[in-house]
Symmetry: C2
Subunit: 264 residues, 2 copies
């Protein structure tokens, strides 16, 4: 690393360079999330590729702010993330305005309506309104899901270039969403036909689950949000879901407008 001038390689997480200490701190923070259990200082230092003293100093500051907790010698994500998440859910303009829109689609179609945001090479569930046949008992708000599986993931990369697709594939394997035999060709075969504005999936990310999804257009750049209709296979057919597409399209349109308008 640090070979060329500015970081634009496909590896070291988000951009390297620029505010090194801050980037490294966020790296540590991200690592604590990935590792789904308390971590020791030396583990973190090794995994993140930085020296012990540096890692220790970072952890101490994060701890001062409650972003990290420590018990004995092990560190974990701290309680300060909860108010942050709450703030996001209550104040983010998109999330807030999406709720009634999802509500309406859900009641119109009887299906579960969800909003996803792209984050790096994954997507995150940020809002959901259940339909008549709920999908699960625990609401997986904030769950990291693949871009490569499920309608709501695929529609986000439907217009990606070959180069981007390759990155997506690499990242999906690294994140454990796909096994090492996964290739851009396999991915392409799942993506919607060039003309289509929606994606469909069945038994793709989770067995027994069907879904359709549409991207939310933001005035410029690749789409980074999508909304979907989902149902357990027992409660709907491919036809049922696809019948919901026009309604979904309308919802996506409304959301796009809200994004333009209430930009504030």
């Amino acid at each position: 690393m640090t070979s060329t001038h500015s970081g634009s390689s496909a590896e070291d997480g988000p951009k390297a360079s620029n505010m090194r200490s801050l980037s490294r701190a966020l790296e540590v923070f991200a690592e604590l999330q990935r590792a789904e259990r308390p971590q020791r200082l030396s583990d973190l230092a090794r995994t993140c590729g930085m020296s012990l003293p540096t890692t220790l100093r970072i952890l101490r500051v994060l701890q001062d702010f409650g972003m990290v907790s420590q018990t004995d010698k092990s560190y974990r994500i701290g309680p300060a993330v909860l108010p942050a998440a709450r703030s996001f859910l209550e104040n983010d303009p998109l999330v807030v305005s999406a709720r009634p829109v999802l509500q309406q689609v859900a009641s119109q179609t009887g299906l579960t309506a969800s909003l996803y945001t792209r984050l790096g090479f994954e997507r995150i569930l940020v809002a959901r309104v259940d339909g008549e046949a709920p999908l699960r008992y625990d609401l997986p708000l904030g769950k990291r899901l693949p871009l490569t599986r499920g309608a709501a993931g695929k529609i986000l990369i439907a217009t990606a270039s070959a180069d981007e697709l390759q990155q997506v594939v690499t990242a999906a394997i690294a994140a454990g969403h796909e096994d090492s035999s996964f290739t851009p060709e396999v991915l392409r075969s799942r993506l919607p036909e060039p003309g289509a504005d929606y994606a469909y999936s069945a038994d793709e990310r989770a067995t027994g689950v069907l879904s359709v999804a549409i991207a939310v257009q933001n005035r410029l750049g690749r789409p980074s949000e999508s909304i979907s209709l989902t149902s357990p296979v027992e409660a709907a057919s491919e036809a049922t879901l696809k019948a919901g597409v026009p309604e979904l399209r309308r919802a996506a349109g409304r959301l796009s407008e809200l994004l333009e308008g209430s930009v504030y």
Copy 2:
């Protein structure tokens, strides 16, 4: 600022000094949460007392990691906080082990059982199991609440020194939890008698709400967690709540043990 050597004053958020850029970044992040609406660069710079370029650079890095989102010229908390919060709720040893304990207290007493963590000079709701008479429709997980009001807050500062109490008072006024006429004397009058291991409150933080709370002991240092039993006044009396104290005491004991044992 920067007058004396090392920061231990009661103002500039958590400790100053040490990893300046990281501390400042977290300051910006915290400010974005406080301000419950998108913020412009110049606002943030002014509020946090740092230069425009610095603030901009911080925001860019935070944005790279999804901790901050930008639309046009305004910044807000980003979607990356959701996976973080999820990780906390699913993996934090205390939260995880508290759930069944709260569950049991709630079903034993029929009251709502909650777990709070102290964060700075506030407390945060981290887990809750509803009783027979739920308190609200929205679950205020992650909500910032005062230490100065409500049983679960007061018990966390019941053993604090005069000095600490003064800090608590100052912070509570600053956070808008109390008005400027608030004093340590007023606070003292609310706190439990020296001997008591539990706190009681009625109509204190919210009207029509009664509660009792007990601190969760961690082997050393001030307590930073508490559990409470709460009920709307229509569904319980002071006597009902206080009858739950032994059960609550047992629950707190079990949690303490878990903290010692499964430290990992």
